[in-house]
Point group: none
Chain length 203, copies 4
Amino acid sequence: MAEQEKNQESFARGRRRSSQSHQAILQAAREVLEQVGYQAMTIEAIAARAGVGKKTIYRWWPSKAAVALESLTSHTEVYVPFPDTGSLERDLTLYFELSFPGLQGKSGTVLSGLAAEAQLDPVFAHEFQRTFIVPRKQELVALLQRGLQRGELAPDTNLEVLADLIYGAKWYRFLLHPAPLDDVFAREIVKLILRLRSEASRT
Amino acid sequence: MAEQEKNQESFARGRRRSSQSHQAILQAAREVLEQVGYQAMTIEAIAARAGVGKKTIYRWWPSKAAVALESLTSHTEVYVPFPDTGSLERDLTLYFELSFPGLQGKSGTVLSGLAAEAQLDPVFAHEFQRTFIVPRKQELVALLQRGLQRGELAPDTNLEVLADLIYGAKWYRFLLHPAPLDDVFAREIVKLILRLRSEASRT
Amino acid sequence: MAEQEKNQESFARGRRRSSQSHQAILQAAREVLEQVGYQAMTIEAIAARAGVGKKTIYRWWPSKAAVALESLTSHTEVYVPFPDTGSLERDLTLYFELSFPGLQGKSGTVLSGLAAEAQLDPVFAHEFQRTFIVPRKQELVALLQRGLQRGELAPDTNLEVLADLIYGAKWYRFLLHPAPLDDVFAREIVKLILRLRSEASRT
Amino acid sequence: MAEQEKNQESFARGRRRSSQSHQAILQAAREVLEQVGYQAMTIEAIAARAGVGKKTIYRWWPSKAAVALESLTSHTEVYVPFPDTGSLERDLTLYFELSFPGLQGKSGTVLSGLAAEAQLDPVFAHEFQRTFIVPRKQELVALLQRGLQRGELAPDTNLEVLADLIYGAKWYRFLLHPAPLDDVFAREIVKLILRLRSEASRT
DNA sequence: AGGTAACCGAGACGGTACGTCGTGTCTTTGC
DNA sequence: GCAAAGACACGACGTACCGTCTCGGTTACCT
């Protein structure tokens, strides 16, 4: 969120940011999210639970979405590692199976809430893309790239667009379509993807 | 949403006003959306502009999202017909090229706003899926089915999941990923889909 | 305000009070008062304008009222000398005419602001009385005493109460009553006071 | 406070002001004033105690001072009747003795708080003068007028200025000067006033 | 000469109240 | 007898200052 203060120790005047408050706020946000969900979470509730003035939150984050995003990403458990087993089929299946559980329950609520906020608040949208969407997409592209180099995909496959298809299907079911995110879905997607092994004949 | 006022001129006791108000509200919603966008639109603003009591809005719609949804769908221009040219490649490309423009500009804002609301309000989520998401998905499945029957897709292709991939990619770029929805994207997706023609060898 | 550090040089360790900051604060207070008036003046604004930490102000004054009071009294122009012309009528008339202008404009705003603060803050009320109200009252009593000794007032006149009447009329018009503080008012008051020359007949 | 809605029944649309809320607010204000004093009273506390939204208070009063003023004057006990005994001396003495007790204790705090607010808020100052200060002054002038007609004051006495002197002395001791408002003070003032019986000789 | 205590500018901190906004409900009155 | 106008209870918003604290640094007295 705020790593851009590196070369400023020259004119760092006044009291420093309290990392105690910083952590208390993120922890409080996690607890409030757990209890009432993203929609009902308020800055006031976070401040009250963290024992912190509202100003302190507004000083460091522009919106409740930003707090929620950092409270989500600062907890390592949320991060799903991208597998590298030497097989595209296993990598993809494994990735889906690992990432689906995090979309269920309260943590899923947070994520869909952040996606909602990104629609309503362009500033947050940019931040969300920068710190969440794009890095994950890049890792997925790398995963596909490894498969391509092993010959598991046609060499001329547009990996960017393929990643859009894969992530898109997942987000589509998560956000919009009333259909389950389960192992059956994972297998069916992987089955379709693997057919792309074949060279493009024409077009 | 509210088509049940048909045979009511008989006991016209100020009731005839109803469908007039109904239209005025939808029209006002469209204007407010146009001017301030989905996020900043309020029920109060719609009521004021329509010259209508807020109660009248709440009587027929449960939320501003519901008003926006109906104001969007009641305008036929938004509806994109699914092509049937006899060629899967042409059908898909045409569909993309026709539907992308509606996601730009203000009407795109409304749609992403509704998608956002669906994350935050489960009641509206259900309505949005029922009247918007699912019908379009079914039409896309039908389009793919026609291609499959023509032999343009492998006979054992899971069309539901394939539709998730296609719609997913579109919504993913629209809602989450900072990448353009243009003809290049359309062509690349179609190119990938068409490779699925080949029979599944193993898996 | 802070003259009680006389016999403390025994354990006067550390840096001494910066008279430069002291003066900068009083000057900044005067400027802020001039620009925004007493009500809108804040400690933060004074500190910012003086280029001084808020703590430095709180170290030496208990409230913004105390700063304003000192910034007012430290400027000699505000002090109105009590005349001694040998005539009660001339002394009183002159005093009024000299003191009325200071109640107009911004400096009047400060004074009424301090009077307001004295209602709201008992600690400041005491300070305001001690350093402002009482000394002036005593000088007025002395002025009246000189008149009494010259036979211009009845010998049994209660000068304390008479001073209350005179000052009261001035403050009443200044703070509460929407009537002008001008030479006509001054003359009319003096006219009434001078009638007290006559001995009390009964009572 | 709001008597200007007389000839408006022609276009009185919408829900009317709830007199229940109105009274609840005034009552709550009285209670809060009693408990914490004027300075510490807040709009939020009044709203909470009255079971009323803050908006409802702001809709009808511009400031907490206005609420306090109406809550004070709407309680008839505060009003001190001006006596008419046929004797100026008795009228004045009686008036003082009746009015001094109301300046002690909590109700005195409210009054000095309102006087303070009038210094800080020009809009309220005008309202305070209009509904509180001026009417009382006029009654005092009338009281003096009765004495003058009975020959208890010189016929050319400037009653306006005399009233300023009398009220001024009272307010001066009440707001500014650390001296008691008691029967001794009342008698001494009256004694001085009564000396004005004599005709002006010169001046 | 060094130690150390009090000062200084800057500004983040926990708090409190502000006045506004939008929600969804409820009156009142006019048509 | 419906529906416009709009008052209502509620509750979060984001802001403004308060008075305190922490920080790095500066005097200037006292060993």
